[in-house]
């Protein structure tokens, strides 16, 4: 078993000492020794997480110019700016593992990196802004609250910072939802339609079911993950069902019912074929998202070049003054 989960160069005594530290609840810091596979798993998870923050700006950025009021517009701009910041926190955390941010960004632009499947769905109406804040950020908070206790220090600290900021995202989303749900019949229909479209993709955000998640056992033993995908998904459902009832919206699942024995809301089967299609690049917006990301990167090139040129000029000036 040790053979399967560690690279050949890892010294078994070091691995044992590392696992003892994890078991004792210690936090692992960048300069500490760690198994190569722990490092690689973290780079994989953290970079996917960072990419998701960055790509996550696109579906909402789509509605900034069409926000229905100034109040809604400033909130949405602030939220999208936060997502950029969250991407940077996590990229900088990933760099502590010895990988270059430029390399990660290139993987995203090349289309070889993965990011959360949810951002490959289109935002068709203003109501989607409410539902994304409520469901998508709500699901992210459930996930990230647990990651804030991850064994890798820089990841955990980035998550604590992100969780503090993300509560605003969820509340602004729910406010939009509640207003529309209490609005005209047309507004109510619009928000119910958004709920119907986003519910199942939001449940898929937690990843494959535990039975099909080969990495989970190892990640839990190393305390990178503290809960399984299915546990987190169930927690999200339990939190969300009463929130939907409070604003008289229905969730599109005929099997949804409370189970008094387990104290959980039972929900119907997830369409994993759809999930796999979206992950493989065949979701409704995969191509559009990457094209938008590449365009933004190319169109921002002059800013990066100008900043470099300005810094070089300043250095030359200082050097000639010193001489």
């Amino acid at each position: 078993m040790t053979q399967a989960r560690t690279q050949p160069q890892d010294d078994p005594a070091k691995v044992a000492a590392f696992e003892a530290r994890i078991a004792a609840g210690e936090s692992i810091e960048p300069k500490d020794w760690m198994p190569e596979r722990y490092r690689r798993q973290l780079i994989r998870m953290m970079s996917q997480h960072a990419h998701s923050e960055i790509v996550g700006m696109l579906p909402e950025g789509n509605w900034i110019t069409r926000a229905p009021s100034l109040r809604r517009k400033i909130s949405l701009i602030a939220k999208v700016q936060d997502e950029a910041g969250h991407g940077l926190y996590i990229y900088c955390g990933t760099e502590t593992l010895g990988v270059d941010r430029a390399e990660l960004v290139q993987q995203l632009l090349d289309g070889t990196a993965k990011y959360s499947s949810i951002f490959n769905y289109p935002t068709l109406s203003w109501a989607d802004m409410g539902v994304i804040g409520w469901f998508v950020d709500g699901a992210a908070i459930v996930n990230q609250t647990v990651l804030a206790k991850a064994s890798y220090g820089p990841y955990a600290r980035a998550m604590i910072r992100i969780c503090k900021e993300e509560n605003f995202h969820k509340r602004q989303g729910y406010e939009i939802v509640a207003v529309l749900a209490n609005g005209t019949p047309a507004q109510k229909a619009m928000i119910q339609d958004a709920v119907n479209r986003w519910w199942w993709p939001s449940l898929m955000m937690f990843g494959p079911s535990d039975a099909d998640s080969p990495n989970t056992a190892e990640l839990i033993r190393w305390k990178v993950k503290r809960r399984t995908n299915d546990e987190l998904r169930q927690r999200f459902v339990n939190l969300t069902v009463p929130q939907a009832a409070a604003v008289n919206l229905t969730l599109p699942d005929p099997e949804l019912r409370y189970d008094a024995d387990t104290e959980n809301w039972h929900f119907g089967p997830i369409d994993w074929d759809e999930f796999n299609q979206v992950i493989r690049g065949n979701g409704p917006c995969n191509r559009e998202r990457l094209e938008a990301r590449r365009r933004a990167h190319d169109e921002g090139a002059w800013v990066r070049e100008a900043a470099s040129a300005y810094a070089a000029k300043q250095r030359a000036k200082q050097a000639s003054e010193a001489a």
Partner: protein, 113 residues
Amino acid sequence: MSDRPDATTPVGEQAAAIAPDGQWPVWEVFTQSAQGAPHEHAGSLHATDAEHALQNARDVYARRGEVISLWVVPSAAITASSPGDAGPFFDPGADKAYRHPQFYKVPRGVRGL
């Protein structure tokens, strides 16, 4: 302009030299949350020079009025103790109980010590 940092160049400017792969150098960001509080490490970022690093640090780590002061330090300028040597390195402080007030016996009933 020379490619190599000059010995008289301040360390912040040395670290600001653009890496051969075109990446901007990494800066560590420290934030102070209130008057009298210590500056604490918040994270890092890439920037061309110290001024640029400060501006980016404000945008990334101080978006909600929770920061009253920022430090940016070139990551390359930081020397850290090594985790592998942490045992022997910190040993001298580990066995000196007499540096703690509990080490000293005080007659019963005496107050304010």
